[in-house]
Point group: C2
Chain length 227, copies 2
């Protein structure tokens, strides 16, 4: 599903160069389920944003679901994201004036889903992440872990082929984390390809493969033993 | 240092009542070092915001460093916060137009610290949290874990007597987390009272006492065995 070759991303600040990605190459098959781990600042979010079409690399090639992202303009990338990607942001990025339900409905509105259908689906997704009692709360009326779960539900609203989750359990207690990992395992069994950035080895070991980054590079890429 | 008795916080939404805090009572001695754990939505951030004078309880009593917070108006609470509290927010709350250095200097500006002195101290704090190479970056030019560390440095800028940290290592890898915990242990040895909200048992066990919450109440309060 994902073919990345020699991805590079450099930020120039005055006379300083930050090599956020310094040549990243890997392949994720259809139905793959991988964790991306590594120290703070090693380039994990930068990589996720590029894979999700939210950012462009300075160099290298990226093909997802047959689409060459380097050949797409802004409109093309937006269309690609809407059709293919579900993204859980490290800082959630919920719309503060919308309720939890409305935040989850938003991608479906863009996709032209009928109002009754999307209200039903948004409600079901919020139930599934344990927020059945919080549907009418706005982000400021939700705890950190509740906001994170709204972000997860929203990423799943349009049944994406590829789920990109940047630390989706960072704000969650152990029991809630396990519920979310069970949800991800179910989705993967249904054919959804999943990439999770995480700092927690328990979460990484729940996936099928661990890709380790350091200083903008991949330094290890191994299957998880029992998968 | 902290005496909390029967703290209550209820949110009313239409005909729904959310009991965020349902009667919280505990005492933290001077130089105490405690972790607050519990499920997502159990009231941890609500409790921290009230202890930090950022929110007021609906009922109950709270005395910190001899000050009865219930007797303070907004100006009094602001003064209390500036003098006594260092707060690390669950969502960081950095000012997006300021650099890391400027964000850390800000509390010192309010406290009237001279420019040369606060620039030196801000730089030293950023060095201490491993961000010596990121001082001129703005929040959008920092990774999630780097933003979190700026928030930690800022909380320490005015040498607070009480450090309140709401999930201060949530976005950090294991090695960086250990550095932050060593920093907190050093501060505690110097006499700083510390309350940490965390989801990670490793972090909780690095403190001296674990306070467990569930549904707005304290359900357990025990010393950590080797302390
Ligand atoms: N716009 C930018 N300008 C300059 N440097 C940047 C910018 N965005 C990110 N960086 C730098 O690029 C590096 C990689 O950032 P990235 O957000 O990908 O790290 P990360 O692995 O996700 O870290 P974390 O685990 O802390 O979230 C960091 O050192 C960061 O300071
Ligand atoms: N302004 C508000 N209006 C209504 N309900 C609220 C409001 N703020 C918080 N809540 C509710 O109060 C409860 C406690 O929230 P709090 O943020 O203290 O939880 P928490 O323990 O910090 O959770 P997390 O671990 O997810 O950060 C949650 O169920 C939340 O939905
Ligand atoms: Mg990141
Ligand atoms: Mg919280």
């Amino acid at each position: 599903l994902i073919e990345a070759r020699d991805l590079v991303k450099t930020y120039i600040m005055g006379d300083e160069e930050v090599h956020a990605l310094a040549g990243v190459t890997f392949t994720i098959p259809h139905g793959g389920y991988a964790a991306v781990i590594g120290p703070s600042g090693s380039g994990k979010s930068t990589l996720m944003n590029i894979i999700g079409g939210l950012d462009t690399p300075g160099g290298g090639a990226l093909v997802i679901n047959g689409a060459d992202l380097g050949a797409l303009d802004d409109a093309g990338l937006a269309g690609f994201r809407n059709r293919t990607i579900g993204f859980v942001f490290q800082s959630f990025n919920l719309l503060p004036r919308l309720t939890a339900l409305e935040n989850v409905e938003l991608p479906m509105m863009y996709a032209g889903v009928a109002p009754a259908e999307r209200r039903l689906r948004a409600g079901a997704l919020l139930d599934r992440v344990g927020l059945g009692q919080r549907k009418t709360h706005r982000p400021t009326q939700l705890s950190g872990g509740q906001q994170q779960r709204v972000a997860i539900a929203r990423a799943l609203a349009c049944r994406p082929a590829l789920l990109l989750a940047d630390e989706p359990t960072g704000a969650l207690d152990t029991a809630t984390t396990e519920e979310i990992l069970r949800l991800f395992a179910d989705l993967n069994a249904e054919g959804v390809t999943i990439l999770i950035v995480t700092h927690e080895m328990d979460v990484a070991r729940a996936t099928h493969r661990i890709i380790e980054m350091r200083d903008g590079r991949i330094v290890a890429d191994n299957p998880v033993p029992h998968h």
